[in-house]
């Protein structure tokens, strides 16, 4: 079989995607923001990226060196805010700092104003009520939100698509039974169960992911089920069956690719929902463990500190921007896969 990098159909889809200017530029902006966030350690950190000390080169971000390496007296982890160490480094070489010289958990003890402090040249978006840099927390929080959203979307899509495919393809009693299970399952009061589970398990990235997957896998099931119910009676599916192909093979090779159009169209919106789910849990204090950077936690701080509007506004604009970009991308994806435009 010839290796086709992009089939004509997908080429037309690319053209359609680009034709939606708003979606295309949203994707570009989102991609840039995402790449910046992935490199958060190099953008916002409490250690310099490079240190030249005498003839030695150090990369403190990647490996720890004790203070003795920089001319200090004690064999302990280096505190790069210590004026004594900074002076030594200046005398013996130089240090290159990230654009934001604070990490998400760095408490700035050198501030003279009360916390939360308003935006300044030192803290571009101010600090929160513990004296941590808001911009640094925003970058790390954005990264966790997106990675969590992507993971949740991927896992729940795989489960949801598999469940919907089996339901739709076999129909009959399988479908009927599974449909009732889903109705009961989706009727459970999700938030209360999350609160109960959050009190049983120490919440963390993976436990939260697991708990949310329990309830979010159903988002695509109905859609995929409907596609499979329709497709299983199409003639080319019958043709494949007459050729003696196994059910799994028919589902995977013939029906699924045709059901993917509707599914992929929905994915950006599912991703949106996943991010909002994590944000709202964090806002309620049921999400990520205390101290971890998160947009929901920032939002909660904004609510508790109305006298410091930069907290709430930052969180609001960050979330609004991210969700809007994703919606615009979703619209462009929908255009790209629209059968009326591709055929």
């Amino acid at each position: 079989m010839p290796n086709i990098i992009l089939s004509p159909l997908n080429k037309r889809r690319m053209v359609n995607f680009r034709a939606n200017k708003r979606g295309y530029w949203s994707l570009v902006i989102f991609a840039i923001l995402f790449v910046i966030c992935l490199a958060a350690e190099f953008v916002a950190n409490d250690k310099p990226i490079f240190v030249k000390f005498d003839d030695n080169w150090y990369v403190p971000i990647l490996s720890d060196h004790p203070e003795t390496a920089y001319g200090g007296d004690f064999d302990v982890e280096t505190d790069f805010y210590d004026p004594y160490i900074l002076g030594k480094i200046e005398d013996h070489g130089f240090a290159i700092w990230p654009p934001i010289p604070f990490s998400y958990n760095t408490i700035d003890f050198q501030m003279r104003e009360p916390q939360p402090a308003s935006p300044s040249a030192r803290h571009w978006l101010g600090t929160d009520d513990l004296g941590r840099d808001v911009l640094a927390r925003l970058i790390y929080g954005f990264r966790i939100s997106i990675l969590f959203g992507l993971a949740l979307t991927a896992i729940s899509s795989v489960i949801g698509i598999a469940a919907g495919a089996v339901q739709g393809y076999f129909g009959g009693w399988v479908d009927l039974g599974a449909q009732r299970v889903i109705e009961i399952w989706s009727g459970l009061p999700q938030l209360f169960i999350l609160i109960i589970l959050a009190s049983l398990f120490a919440p963390g990235f993976w436990t939260l992911l697991f708990i949310l997957v329990l309830f979010s896998w159903m988002s695509l099931t109905g859609l995929v089920r409907a596609e499979f119910l329709r497709a299983r009676n199409l003639e080319y599916v019958r043709a494949a069956r007459a050729l003696g192909m196994t059910d799994t093979r028919i589902m995977y090779r013939h029906v699924l690719p045709n059901a993917m159009v509707a599914t992929i169209t929905f994915l950006p919106f599912v991703l949106n929902g996943s991010i909002v789910a994590l944000t709202s849990l964090d806002f309620l204090g049921l999400g990520m463990p205390p101290g971890s950077p998160s947009l929901g936690e920032l939002l909660a701080q904004g609510k508790n500190n109305l006298q410091a509007p930069w907290l709430g506004l930052t969180a609001f604009f960050a979330i609004a921007l991210m969700l809007s970009l994703l919606i615009f991308i979703g619209e462009a994806v929908r255009d790209a896969f629209d059968p009326r435009k591709t055929f």
């Binding site: 079989m1 010839p2 004509p8 159909l9 199409l234 003639e235 080319y236 019958r238 043709a239 494949a240 069956r241 007459a242 050729l243 003696g244 192909m245 196994t246 013939h254 690719p257 045709n258 055929f343």
Partner: protein
């Protein structure tokens, strides 16, 4: 009922084939309605012949066809393929059955996966049923395309780039790829233009000669069936009502329904078709009438027609109709 079982060259045979849909009980014990799609069919197909099956829409032709290739299981009765039971064959090895009997669909375009190149569609049966790969696979695909008179470069096209006739030839090539003995053709030309129909019918005739195929040819078009069939069975409401060797059926129809079919076929130069009265539709499949299903529409119906189901002796050579008052009673069976 049939004497066909004694003849050794019968490859495909059905006995009292019944297929119902629905039925069973609801959760609270109520009886669910049952649709009788096929209500007892006995047909036999000899090696190398073409059995034509005609009938109007909804008479169970496609259900029969699907059962013949194993896409659907009969509710009662059985199908035998050279003496072995179809259910056993499916249970033992689905691929082995697919290598012996293949299916050509009515709608040529929709029977091809719109996302796959013809090359991929055609490669699937060769790879999974015949175990070909690499050069042997490519060579065989080229042979198949040649056999159905398509240029080899068509392999790298998508189904929507084809005309109906070309797509149907791809469908035939796909069926041939399995190197089957029998091909069930379910209305293979109904979706095509008349000129293209002739092309495809000629192709089918050539292929039959070349590969020694056996056809079950299903259609609602009498002239098409007449042109291709060695024997013809007329179906009405899930049963075979008349069966004969090709010409005899068209020259001397016995069953009033066959007569009606022949008369209502539009022919150039003939104006004013036989129009039936308002009751001219199939009986309700949820509750089949007692007696002959055609009786309500039949001009010759008498009391015994609604009381009892007429029976017939269908053989491989004879001409008989399930009718108490046939039009042209047969003198010698």
């Amino acid at each position: 009922m049939s004497d066909a079982s004694h003849v050794s060259d019968v490859v495909l045979q059905t006995r009292d084939l019944v297929r119902t849909f629905g039925g069973g009980r609801t959760l609270f014990g109520g009886q669910k309605p049952t649709v009788y799609a096929v209500r007892g069919i006995d047909v036999a197909v000899r090696k190398g012949e073409t059995l034509g099956i005609v009938g109007e829409s909804g008479c169970g032709k496609s259900t029969l066809a699907r059962m013949l290739v194993g896409l659907d299981r009969p509710t009662e009765g059985n199908i035998t393929l050279t003496g072995s039971d179809m259910n056993d064959l499916i249970a033992r090895d689905r691929h082995a059955l697919s290598r012996r009997i293949q299916y050509v669909f009515q709608d040529p375009i929709s029977s091809l996966n719109p996302r796959k190149l013809i090359r991929e569609t055609l490669a699937a049966p060769l790879r999974y049923l015949r175990g070909l790969s690499g050069d042997a696979l490519n060579q065989r695909m080229a042979e198949l395309m040649d056999a159905v008179n398509l240029r080899p470069e068509f392999l790298d096209r998508y189904p929507h780039e084809f005309s109906g006739g070309q797509a149907q030839r791809v469908g035939i090539a796909r069926a041939l790829a399995a190197e089957p003995e029998i091909i069930v053709l379910d209305e293979p030309v109904s979706a095509l233009d008349v000129s293209v129909q002739a092309q495809v019918l000629n192709l089918l005739a050539d292929l039959k000669k070349k590969f020694g195929l056996t056809y079950v040819f299903i259609s609602h078009d009498l002239s098409v069936v007449e042109a291709v069939s060695d024997r013809v069975a007329v179906m009405y409401f899930g049963r075979v009502v008349e069966q004969a060797k090709g010409r005899a059926l068209f020259d001397k129809p016995q069953h009033p329904y066959t007569r009606l079919l022949l008369d209502s076929a539009p022919v150039p130069g003939k104006r004013g078709l036989t129009v039936e009265d308002a009751s001219a539709e199939l009986p309700d499949p949820l509750s089949p009438p007692p007696g002959c299903a055609f009786a309500p529409r039949c001009p010759r119906a008498q009391d015994d027609c609604v009381a009892k189901v007429p029976d017939a002796q269908y053989g491989l050579e004879n001409h008989d109709a399930a009718c108490f008052h046939p039009l042209n009673p047969v003198t010698s069976a």
